[in-house]
């Protein structure tokens, strides 16, 4: 038995390695995508290692160091690399912990929107008819609202807080997944391999999720990366408006909101959280573009 499995492994490997190297070839052709990936990896490392590399606890208030400028400014202190905020908390430490929140928000919101969107989209695309019409009109209604406004209304109804904000953003992002999934399923469901699975006796569930869905994943993965950055951005916006994470959570949007009144007096309290959001979103978007080039054959330059 051991011999046969070993032989089988040898057979699998070339194809998988080849597909991976082909993927990397298309991905690495896009320099922006590689830069985005590097920044994203650094970000993930910073978030994961935050407890080890931050010089201070994120909520620790140093009363002797209120609104200190960054270390390289005239009054700056080396202990507070990016300065401190109005209650004496170290901005650098808070930013690193904020990365945890942002990535967590991105992952959870994207997963929620992706899973919900896939299930609803596959059902709409597979069954068609009135089910499809009903679902798609509902999605059109959601899409008709400015996304942030709708998220704001939802949070207002559910009550402010990070969890509710994530649910609201997932709901707002979901229609994009529904539409993509539906379109891909409709294109795939008439292919002959689906008919073949039906002849094999496969039921609707198996056809939808085992046969058709795996062939629809490429555009969904691309959309997921782009939604990831959207989720971070929307969560920061909700935080800024006081509807997302609540103080003293070191969430980037919330940090911005707290710093609002010091914009003129202490530029660093708004600049660094803002830059963090900008860089993160930009990096993920660049990465998403590269993924699209590498994964979506329709857009592949040949």
């Amino acid at each position: 038995m051991a011999d046969t499995t070993a032989a089988e492994d040898v057979v699998i490997d070339p194809s998988r390695a080849r597909r991976l190297s082909e993927f990397w070839y298309y991905f690495s052709e896009n320099r922006g995508a590689v830069i985005g990936l590097v920044v994203f990896i650094i970000l993930v490392l910073a978030a994961v290692l935050a407890p080890l590399i931050t010089p201070h606890a994120p909520a620790m208030q140093y009363r002797d160091a209120v609104l200190l400028p960054p270390a390289w400014e005239a009054n700056g202190r080396a202990a507070y690399l990016l300065g401190t905020d109005a209650v004496g908390r170290d901005i650098f430490s808070r930013l690193l912990y904020g990365a945890q929140f942002s990535l967590f928000i991105g992952v959870v919101v994207t997963l929620l929107a992706l899973v919900g969107g896939i299930v609803v989209g596959v059902i709409a695309g597979y069954f068609g008819g009135w089910i499809d019409t009903l679902i798609m009109r509902l999605m059109d209604i959601i899409l008709a609202f400015p996304s942030l406004l709708l998220a704001l209304v939802l949070v207002a109804v559910l009550g402010p807080g990070l969890t509710n904000a994530m649910i609201a953003i997932a709901l707002v992002l979901q229609p994009h997944f529904v539409r993509l999934t539906r379109a891909a399923v409709m294109a795939e469901k008439n292919r002959e391999y689906v008919v073949a699975a039906r002849v094999a006796g496969a039921g609707s569930w198996r056809l939808m999720f085992r046969t058709i869905l795996p062939n629809c994943m490429a555009p969904l993965i691309v959309q997921a990366t782009l939604s990831f950055s959207n989720a971070i951005l929307d969560a920061a916006a909700l935080g800024f408006l006081g509807m997302g994470a609540q103080p003293p959570t070191p969430e980037w949007g919330t940090m911005l909101a707290e710093a609002r009144e010091f914009i003129l007096r202490a530029w660093w309290v708004v600049t660094f959280p803002g830059l963090a959001i900008l860089i993160t979103v930009l990096a993920i978007n660049l990465m998403g573009d590269g993924l699209r080039d590498a994964l979506d054959p329709k857009l592949k330059r040949s």
Partner: protein
Amino acid sequence: MSTLAHTSSEAPLLSVKNLETYFPLSHGTVRAVDGVSFEVRRGTIVGLVGESGSGKTTLGRSILRLVEPTGGEARFEDKDLLTLSPREMRAYRRRLQIIFQDPYSSLNPRMRVGAILAEALDTHGLAKGSARAPRIAELLTRVGLSPEHAKRFPHEFSGGQRQRIGIARALAVEPELIVADEPVSALDVSVQAQILNLMQELQKEFGLTMLFVAHDLSVVEYLCDEVVVMYLGRIMERGPSAQVYSRPRHPYTKALLATAPIPDPTVKRERIILKGDIPSPLDPPSGCVFRTRCPYAAPICAENRPPDEAVGLDHFVACVRKDELATSGEL
């Protein structure tokens, strides 16, 4: 009924009666299959031939209920397949299989060959657990592939190899009837012969019954015991291959045979050259649907739909002028 008097006594495995498959469109109805009756006896291969658009593929798929027929019946042994509920039909799927025309689109690109073959076994609960791998290896070996191929993806195979996988998939559940939907027309000529030989071997070995859809008459002659000739959703002529090929009794069959090349340049034959295209199935000609392209068309042809009439044992022709043409020596 003359149709009954001339059929052999053995009960057919599949008996199709007045099968109709209509597709409603916004501006009319396409009669893809329009009242078709024929029989397939156990252990035989029946060829279904016709031009593109004659409804032969739709007919094959209607029998398997991959396309829902509008009317008529398709009796499999003694059960009318068209009256089965979807749940009952799933049980029958094991006994009825299909081989597809395009081996590129008929294999799921995200599944390994082993998983493709296992799909049917899974849904019917066959060859479970430790019996699974040997069964898949056996199937692959039987169609001329190697057991290691089970671990590969479809894109790693050539067209001919993919069609072999398609055949193995159809055989996996040990079906009684296989509908082969132009299984070789997407392949290179050299590969076509290999696949046809394989199908013939397998048919003999397993005593399969097959409905072989093709637009190439020479392929059908080589493989089939009986031929059904379709035109615009209707059967023009059907009968044992030997008879139909040596003496076609319908002008359409004769025209089709004339298009098939003969490898001997010294043989001269009279040709019927068909002019124009197949008429729109949205608005088929009255009476005999072939009359607009038939060189022997007469006013009588436009009046009524010609009935299937026996001209020999199991040999039926739908042409009102067949006797006239036979005596005048034109057919």
